[in-house]
Subunit: 553 residues, 2 copies
């Protein structure tokens, strides 16, 4: 039996990866969860919509779970909530905008009866044995919070995603003084955002982007389209400011843009003059120099508004050569090609496109090295766990902590599922709990696994050949077939010889088996498969999936 | 009939894309081809190995084709040669290293009897009506050439891929003076490399990378692995220099590295001391501070040497925590994630990894804006066609030419297949020839097209359901089945209910059709497909390919 007086910290997602953030904090009979995020599928997860964390451990300990505490409203921190809440009803705590966004999401999934509790920065909530304090931070979405979790063993500080912006758009600067106070009082453990740990220096203030916008908006005399993340409310605020200063109306395009701005406006996180926002259908009533369109699609997502605008498939927005398009985001690794395709489509239509490498139209939402050092220095934790990032980011963040004097034996680079156990004086890894990726495909959660993905990969590369034959139950003779049907393999019309040869090869196998009195279907099928596979590979160096089907009459 | 006295320039590949470079230059009864490259498949070209240009126009005019003239030995300039030469035997002209690399490639494809002719920089060859002059340039592979094609209408200058490096590793600097001379004498048309047209300033000299290597090699006291492009002979020369200065032996890993270095050494493009190069099997006879491994895999290609080393699957090289790995390349757009995976695997093993964002371990091989301006200024062409690049790069390059004074009506941004027609005083687009992508999959060239790819995509996303039923020819009754087999759809074991329901749905369709005396198989199949599709989409929001097969006995 494990000793009952240890504090356990168990990352169930977000370590060794970007996304899917969720961490359990456990002491005796109480568990709280920090965040509950999703991530996007890797390239090899063919056909998968989203990836959520394995929550077996949570389900097994459901009577202990007191709450899910959310640091902010990004998908990689709240996106798995509908799937988890569908299995187990847990109270949710978060700031106002975060919960506003959660509410929209839960509505889409037709989940109600969720116990949601708004917390303000500076407030502390009691959750079982834990006192959880929300501390104001800055990030690329408003209302972000770090958490100070006061436990019987000591204080755990979790930064959430953060950057240090001394001149934030909402004027409400990160509460560095509270981090300093906690540091002075003594912090057992710091868990800090590692996303930008490889980047030296400081992240620029969001305000610098506003200056660039202001200059661009002043000089362009036709329509301006800006693509950015719907959740980047401060960015959108600056686009609205620049528009209002230049007497432009603002049009929104893209479902998530309309939804998120709706929530942000309603809850008072976004400000605009009466009449600034107009309906997309009224756009043509205004001259082109009085229109700004804010759109989704900054990652070049093929179905997004900007992609459809660029390829001329958008019903309401037809791109003009005089338009100016600003892509106010950096491509997330893996999206470079889709973004480039959008840029090419726009440039081909004669439109000027401004993106990050041409001007300061984006800044990161995550702390760079000097900011990480400041956080470490203020909080002065006894132990340190770098969180949120691939292994390379965690490692670099660990090295930074070491250069600041944290003893290496007090720094832990964890994997998802590892149990960190703390007493007041000790810290050690005390085993593992189940963790991993659950793949969501359509309405199916977890029913697509390695075998299905392996088959999808095989099918995607070389296609499929189905061989069907009907055999007499009594005599074992062929009654119909063999028929050969292919998909994703070759143009059948141009490869009639190849297919006819394949039929001959299969017929020979069947006749041979008939002669040898082989009536075991498994053997028969594997003979067909092997012979046909070798034949095709020799002919065309391709290896389609071969599916022999035998019908018995 | 077209007037016979026009010079035609027809890009058959390389415009609006990066790769697959090939251009026809035609006058009356003579055609020469500049380069003959391949490109790598786009993400949506599932299962495709390489992409080559459509050469219908070449095959139709084969009696006119005098030669393929090569600018340098990169795959995007020589990679389609085996496929083209397999259809039509054309004499090849190029510099020594370029032809050395072509020879290796043709050997792999078992092509001999190819007429290959080595040309030196400064030499001019007569090809039909054309005099083709090879001009020394600089690029990330030695022995690169620009071409000055002296035609009856005027001089066409094609830069090939180039950069301006005043301190190249082989000491043999780009022949700017010849470009200047040509400019003074009058150039009709310039076709110039647009790859880096979006980048301001100058590309750094290759030598700067050598300085970084020297410093790193001096300070590291264990084994060093460097991943780079096999064709970047100058880079490899600098790695060898740094190794020799620090008494390190050099080991090669990766098939293309061994092949290319073999050719470069044999032809005198790479220099090393006797005994520097050792066999990978002798590596362990030396202490770790006396070993450098030069390896392929700088793009994180899953089967490459570096990827296998990083994941612990390489038979000869086991990574150690004390090793230092240098990735001396930039990820080509689309490869960021595979490179990152390799870095994570290495860092997890405790190995330090240096890559471009951490140090100056790579420079581009292509000219940036200031170099492009220099080329324009020297050559002073009457007409300008930007080549080698996506539309955005061509557009930017056209803008640069315009700022230097080329009248916009003399600048042509072409698409593949467009025919530019020149007289001494006029230039206009005179129609189109067939052009496009031919997909190579295994031994099949061009037998995979849109329908096959669409099927592969469908199969990759939602998998497949085969419905088989045997029906009596006479009575139309079901004799066997319906059997339902799925692949890439769901875990069958965990979804038995779903599959059993599907069977019931199909049986109902069959019985209904039997009742209605529907004996038309096409109708029967489409009834099965539609009903089952709707049923499954309603149940699980997935849309697998459904393949109904009816056997008649």
């Amino acid at each position: 039996m494990r000793k009952p007086n240890k504090l356990k910290v168990i990352p169930l997602g977000g370590l060794g990866e970007v996304g899917k953030n969720i961490t359990a904090i456990e002491y005796k009979e109480d568990i709280i969860l920090i965040d509950c995020g999703m991530t996007f599928p890797e390239d090899e997860m063919l056909g998968i919509d989203v990836v959520i964390p394995d929550i077996t451990y949570i389900l097994k300990n459901k009577e202990k779970i007191r709450a899910i505490v959310l640091t902010h409203g990004h998908e990689d921190h709240i996106g798995a909530l509908p799937y988890v809440l569908n299995k187990i009803n847990i109270p949710i705590y978060g700031t106002k905008l975060t919960l506003g966004l959660v509410e929209t999401k839960l509505k889409e999934h037709k989940l109600d009866n969720v116990n949601m509790n708004i917390v303000k920065h500076g407030e502390t909530i009691k959750l079982g044995v834990f006192d959880v304090e929300f501390i104001k931070t800055g990030h690329s979405i408003p209302d972000s919070a770090a958490l100070a979790i006061h436990t019987p063993i000591g204080v755990v500080v979790h930064t959430g995603d953060f950057k240090i912006d001394y001149t934030p758009i909402d004027g409400d600067v990160i509460d560095l003084n509270r981090f300093a106070e906690l540091g002075n009082q003594g912090v057992l453990l710091l868990m800090s955002d590692s996303t930008n740990a490889e980047r030296p220096g400081y992240t620029m203030s969001e305000r610098t982007v506003g200056n660039t916008f202001r200059e661009i908006f002043l000089n362009h005399k036709h329509r301006i389209l800006v693509a950015t993340f719907a959740s980047n409310v401060h960015r959108i605020q600056q686009i609205i400011h620049a528009s209002e200063e230049n007497s432009r109306k603002v049009v929104l395009s893209g479902r998530s843009m309309i939804n998120t701005i709706g929530v942000a406006l309603e809850l008072g996180y976004l400000h605009m003059k009466e009449g600034t926002l107009i309906d997309i259908n009224d756009m043509n009533k205004y001259p082109s120099n009085e229109i700004t369109i804010i759109t989704t699609g900054s990652q070049g997502e093929p179905m997004s508004a900007l992609s459809r605008i660029a390829s001329g498939e958008h019903k309401k927005v037809q791109i003009q050569p005089e338009d100016l398009v600003i892509i106010s985001a950096t491509p997330i690794p893996g999206n470079e090609k889709t973004v480039s395709r959008v840029i090419n489509n726009l440039v081909e239509k004669g439109t000027e496109v401004i993106f990050e490498s041409l001007a300061d139209v984006h800044v990161s939402g995550h702390a760079c090295q000097e900011e990480l050092k400041l956080m470490q220095t203020l909080v002065k934790p006894k132990y340190f766990i770098p969180v949120h990032g691939e292994f390379r980011h965690l490692k670099k963040h660990a090295e930074i902590a070491e250069t600041l004097g944290t003893p290496p034996e007090n720094i832990f680079i964890l994997s998802n599922g590892e149990i960190m156990e703390f007493t007041k004086d000790t810290a050690e890894i005390g085993g593992n709990v189940q963790s991993g990726n659950i793949l969501v495909d359509g309405l199916g959660v977890g029913d697509v696994g390695n075998i299905v993905l392996r088959d999808r990969k095989h099918l995607s590369e070389d296609g499929l050949i189905v061989v069907v034959v009907t055999i007499s139950k009594k005599e074992g003779t062929i009654l119909a077939g063999p028929d050969i049907i292919s998909r994703g393999f070759v143009y059948v019309r141009e490869s009639e010889d190849l297919m006819e040869e394949a039929r001959t090869v299969v017929r020979a196998v069947l006749e041979d088996c008939e002669k040898k009195k082989i009536t075991d279907w498994a053997t028969l099928k594997s003979n067909i498969r092997d012979t046909l596979r070798n034949h095709l590979y020799g002919k065309i160096k391709r290896n389609p999936m071969i599916l022999p089907i035998i019908m018995e009459v």
